[in-house]
Structure formats: C-alpha cells, structure tokens
Symmetry: D2
Subunit: 241 residues, 4 copies
C-alpha cells in the first residue's frame, strides 16, 4: 500500500496570540503535526481556518486520504458548506482524526449526531493513557500506558455514541476517567477521536503520542473499496411469477 496523503487542519488562532500557545507551538500545531507525518514518509499538506475555504477545497479533499482536525476557539467560524464537504468525503472513504478540543467541532458533532459534550478542567494534571485493546493497530508499539506529564483534564460522561472500538482510556490526577481513543466507522470512512493534545502543552512532541498518531493515520486510510450502489434497482433476480 502506498503511503497515505495526510492533510493537517488547524484552527491556528491561539498560536498567533502571543501567549503560552505561541510559545509552545510557535509555527502552529499544524507545523508540528506536519513535520511528524513527513518524518514517517507520508505525503502531507496543511490547511488552516483563515485560508479561503479554510484551505479545504474540493481539490484538496479529493487528494486527501486522511484529514486531521484541531480546533478550539472558533468552531462556529467553520463554514457549513465546508463541513458538508468534509462529511461527504468522510462518508466516501476519507479517514478523519479528531484531536482533543476538536470534540466540539461542527464536523465531529455532525458525524456523531450527539452533543459530544464532556467535563473539563485545565490545571496541568498528569494523565495516564491506558491501552484497553493492546492488539488494535492504533496501539502498535505503544505499550501498556503513556504518561502525559501535564494535560487538560477531560472527564466522563463523554456524550458520543458508544465507539465501535475503544482503544485507550485515560486516568487523571484529579480523579476522572475518559474514553480517550475511540474508533468509528461511518459510511465508507473511518474516524478516530484522540483526546490528548492542547495548545499550551507540548503533547504532540511526545514520542508515544506521535506513535499513536502515526498508527491512527495508517488505520484511517481508505481501503479503496468499490463504492456501494444505492437507489432503485430493477426486477429482483429471484423474482418469479
């Protein structure tokens, strides 16, 4: 199988506001993720909110096998037309990896059908990400747990459909748990929600987290299956009079 073509989408607002986010990701979260995927030999493009059509034109999506999505403060600024376009491509087979605060993005809520709400608290708590399904492709080479030294906490109830496969569950210092690695199949596409990551913690520079992201891209890449056909069909082949 050829290496997947990845488009890294980033809201890219926090990192241009001169605070902790800019310090942590001076060129944007997308730059760090793009560098990661390039280092794995994937074919990588980036796209951000403030580009025309948010950088997600038909042409870009047609050339994308897996789209990663990071957004936080400006979910509402994403145009519905672009959300429709991404949803259509996912249902046609494009993989989608939704990162951290992307749980509240229009595209994730659209594909899940639920509020995708959760509990949260940002105090730089330690997170322990436990591998619940060690034989899942997304857990390959990850080990039994990953310790994230400082993280924003997300806690249950996470209001999503029960995942088709639950790969990771997080423990937080403050007393909460969270289903942090959730696989979904929707239409011909695969979706992975992955909790870790935040604009002010260097989580996307952490080795084990990068391993998971690489695995997730490979898992989410399309099978290039024949598209199923729909609509009216002629007289049933078995029908006899």
């Amino acid at each position: 199988m050829s290496k997947p073509r990845v488009t890294v989408w980033n809201e890219f607002r926090h990192e241009r506001e001169g605070g902790a986010a800019e310090e942590c990701y001076p060129e944007g979260i997308h730059a760090v993720l793009a560098e990661l995927f390039e280092s794995r030999g994937f074919d990588v493009e980036t796209a951000t909110l403030d580009e025309p059509e948010h950088g997600l034109t038909e042409a870009v999506l047609d050339d994308t096998d897996v789209l990663t999505w990071w957004g936080h403060a400006a979910h509402e600024e994403v145009a519905d037309e672009v959300v429709n376009r991404v949803q259509t491509r996912v249902l046609d087979g494009m993989g989608l990896i939704v990162l951290h605060s992307g749980h509240f993005s229009k595209i994730f809520k659209r594909l899940m059908g639920t509020t995708c709400d959760l509990k949260w608290r940002n105090e730089g708590e330690r997170e322990r990400l436990w591998t619940v399904e060690p034989n899942h492709p997304i857990a390959r080479g990850v080990g039994e747990q990953v310790v994230v030294p400082e993280a924003e906490m997300y806690g249950e109830r996470f209001d999503v459909p029960a995942p088709d496969e639950l790969v990771f569950t997080s423990w937080f210092e403050g007393g909460e748990v969270f289903r942090s690695g959730c696989c979904y199949r929707r239409g011909s596409g695969r979706i992975f929600y992955f909790r870790p990551g935040h604009e002010t913690y260097p989580i996307y520079r952490q080795t084990e987290i990068r391993q998971i992201l690489e695995n997730a891209v490979e898992w989410a890449a399309p099978e290039n299956a024949d598209a199923p056909s729909f609509g009216e069909v002629p007289v049933g082949p078995e029908r006899r009079d």
Copy 2:
C-alpha cells in the same frame, strides 16, 4: 412504570391524494398507529407536517416520551428548526422510532451522521422478517419470523452506523436482504429504525408488526435517569500538592 406518552408523527400527504395510499390508510397512517398505541393503553397524540411547526412544538415534545416518525415525499419540507428541536429532545432522553421511508428523514440522517441510503424496488414482494436476537425486548412475543405478504423491497448496503443491537433481518422474494430492526443509543435517548411499512400496503394493520411497534415504544421510553452534567468542573477531588 407508567405507560409512555407517544406522539405519532406523519407526513400525511400521500393519503390525501386519492390513490392507493388513501385507499389503504383513508385517515392517514398516523390514525392507524394512534389507534394501535391507544389500544395498548398508551397516552397518544398525533402531529403532521402541515400543522404549524409540524405539530411538534416545544410543549408537545416536552410531553412526549416516544416519538414515531413516518415521512416519504416531503422530507425537505421539515423545518430545520424543528429537526434541531427533535434532535435535542432525543439526546435528552425522548425515544424515537423511525419507520420505513423515514430512513431518509432529516432527523434520522442528523442522528446517524451518515447518508442512510439503501437500495429499493416497489413490486409488492413478499418479505420475511427474521428475528436475529430472540431475547431482545423488541422481539417479545414475535416468534421466529414474520411474513409480510406484500412489501416494497429495501436492500443492503444500508448506509448507517453499525447498530448497537440488530434485532431483525429481512429476506425479500427478489433476492435481497436488509437489516430491518436496528437499535441505537444516542445521548440519553434510544432510537429504533424499523423497516416494514409503506403507504400502499396494510402492513401497520398486521398483528405481528403491531406487536413489534408496541414493544419498540416500551423499549424506547426514557429511563428518567439523572441528566449527566457537562462543562468546567472545579479542582479535582484527588488533586494534592
């Protein structure tokens, strides 16, 4: 548990056009379903597309435990505001039973996140509805199979998320199969998609089909669980410095 309050929603267009649908359901599909649920002792209201707000005001939905949905030709005429309202109520716990051609309703596509597309052919074929999970509450008293003498065929691929529980699978004379009884949990609500039924076949008068519909209402009725809380939470109870 008290008997559920059911609102039967119907597009109610075909049955006023003077053809086979009017012959089959002269007072509307909703009238037949309402009579069924009343005969079971449920508290029943009806609502139709051409009423103000399609009959689905906040007040009506607040008093509804389970909403049944039949639509076919006018899905696009359902106002997005009403779709939003119904979605919110389902996620808050109201049950939803989506009937036959309701697979293409805005509300079902909204809650599933997929196209909900399928194959179809209307030739009055025999359908055999097989019980795949005989111990499911929705299969109670139904037996191993239900023969529907004449039906519109729906065939796989049915483009929905894999159901949380698959209760029935249909066989069609013409050679197709279909996942005809699909359970989903979304938010605090339960959703049942049930394939049989059509505006020109008296399927909703058939005893076994009525048994399934009664069962489905009872299954979909809310647990009256405490609503989960979401949003920012204070310092973690376990956090120590």
Copy 3:
C-alpha cells in the same frame, strides 16, 4: 412483571477463616447480598460451594431468574458438571451477575472464551466508579460517580471480549483504570460483570453499590422470550421448482 427469583452463590471460605473477611462479613457475603435482594422484594435463595452440587442443582437453577456469583480462592473446586449446568441455563435465559474476583471463575471464563485476566493490587485504595452510560437501566439512580473509600485495585488490560455495553469505568488512587461494569448477551441470557466488592471491605453494604446490584438483577432477569428453534428444517417455504 413479577419480581425476579435470585440465587446468591458464594464460595464462602474466606469468611469462615477467622480473619478480616469474617469480621467484615461474619455470616458470609451471600448473607449480605441475600438481605439486600430481599429488602427489594425479590425472591431470594443462597447457595455455597461446600453444599452438595455447590447448592446449584437442576431444580435450584430451574427456579432461578438471576444468579449472582462470588468466588475467589477456590475457583478450581467448582465441579465442571455444575459449570456446564450453569452455562446451559444462562444460554437458555437465566441472568448472571459476576462479582469482583468472580472474573476468574470457571463459569465466567467459559462464557467469555478468554482468560479474563487483569492487573491487581490490594492496598485499600480509593476507587471512583464513573458512570459512562448514564441512561443505562443499571445506572438508574446511581449518579455520576460512586466513591468506594477502600478497594482492591483491578487494572487494564482486562482480557474479556469488548462488552456489548460498557456502563461504568473505575479510577484508582494508584493510577489505574478499569472497565468495571460490562454487559454481555450470550444465547438468551444476560451477563453483567461488576468489579466492586471484596471479602475484606464492606463494599456490599454501601448504598450506591446496592442500588447498582438491584438494577443489575432487574436488567438481567429473562424476557421469557420464546426459545428459538434449531436444527434441520423442512423444504424452504419459498422453494419453487
């Protein structure tokens, strides 16, 4: 629906050995559970390992709607014949609730097909049991989390099939997580694995835990569905020459 008939099975060895277990459950864990279920109006019997046939004769099982299982030190002493008998009854519709160290019982391993292994540590850690599916019948009236002041820790990887429904996930003081409330459907029967409980902690006297156990019995009670038929069937009803 009439109240379920519950048989509470207990290994009943630790509590007769004069140590912490006897102090905690002087008349046996089964006595405390029996008292709980009786207080809910259920019809309750108890059975223990050292009775003939472990107290689980055909007659007893035939009169049981839901069997609860607590064992720890003597799993291997349970006769295979009795395990076969219990498995058959579960597949025929009897509910089974497997408690805590019962994860390693012959009957649970038999029904799961896996090792059912896990990590553990007994240091009296605090456990926080989070409700992942607040609208599940087993979570009724339980609230968002239950704090167990002192518990033996069980940690992931828990080597079971992915549960059909995951209701609770535990957080432990020492840093682990665990899928603590797992629902399975096997044959015509329902199985609930529930982690909390131990012979030296008064967990089965805790109000919220008792609420969950009551809910679990009600959920696991059989639907009294018609048994499906199996084996050779005559010429297909649709077969034409």
Copy 4:
C-alpha cells in the same frame, strides 16, 4: 508486513469415503485451500484430524499466524488438549478462520461461549451473500454480492455473540437469512466465521469466495503487538501518603 504463515486444518473424513465429497474434493478440502493460499504467496501447511495430535503440535501452532478450520462429522474426536492449545494460541494472537460446519467445532464453541447452533437444510439452494460493510478489509474486491449457485442453507437464529463486525449476510432461495461473515476479537487474536463452503459443493473453487478467504487471512494475521502483562503490580505510581 511479511506474508502470513497459514495452517489449513481439515477433518478430512468425508473426502475419503467415496461419495460426492470425494468427487468434489478428491485430495481433501485442505488441498484446495492450501493451493489457494500458496497461489497468494502465503506460507502454507496443512494438518488433519487423523494425524498425531491432529497435526496441531505446539511447534506447528507456534509457527502459525492464521489457522483455518473445517470440520463437520467428527467434532467430538478432536482432543480437548488440542482445543486448549489452539484456544491459548488464539488468545495470544493467532488468527482463526472458522469455515461453514466448523460453527459446531469445539474450538469455536469454546471461544464464543455459546451453543453456536443454527437452522440448516441441504437442498443445493442458491445463496446470495450480500456485503453489509463494503469498506471492511475482508470485503475488498468482492463487490456487492456473491452468488453461490448451490449451497447448504444455514438460517437464523445463529446462536453466537453479536459479532464485533458483521461483514456479510446471506439470502437463501428457500426463504432464510444468515449472518455469514462475522468478526470477533478475543484476547490478542482475531476470529472470522465464514459460512459458505460444504464438502459436496465446489464453493472453495469459486473466485469471489477465494478472494474473501485471502482477505480474511490478511485481516486475521496478528499485529505482533506487545503482550499485555497481568497479575499483581507493585505500589501504584500515584499513591501518596
């Protein structure tokens, strides 16, 4: 990834009895399957019931990535010790593909925990195998349906746990349906039950069926994940006094 090492296991009794089975598979079903997998470049061995230890020694299983299992008339002759050995290897990561009448094998019942019973009728009916999940790796290149001209019918209720993924559903001329392609994850291993095939029909010579079998082997091959660890663990890393 290197090509998987496949061991094709066959009961190999029917084909030596001089009737229709011998005509259809003169050198045994295993010979036809072995030839298929060799033609795909896999590393293939065969093993049969009447060999010592049924040909499934520790050494053979240690060198096997995916085991395929065909049995029918002599399930009871398979030694429990060998069943234990195969189960252990599956839980440790070996893939298992259970074919047709293998539904009643000791190893499949052991791994499922249920009776695995079903309805059947052997009249050479036409079977239509519909692809329910077209984007599943096992459906790659298969198309929307596969017509098997003559088959033994298997009908629901199929008494297995709800599959983790349902890939194919069959339609039969006589009026039945069946969940014919069922994926399970158990321990670190993957299991695929595939219905088509019979000792007197040349189904394993059919192109589309062979494509599915090749896909299934690739899907079931182990990830070579790190084995999870189990048992007592030391003081929790987060425990503070």
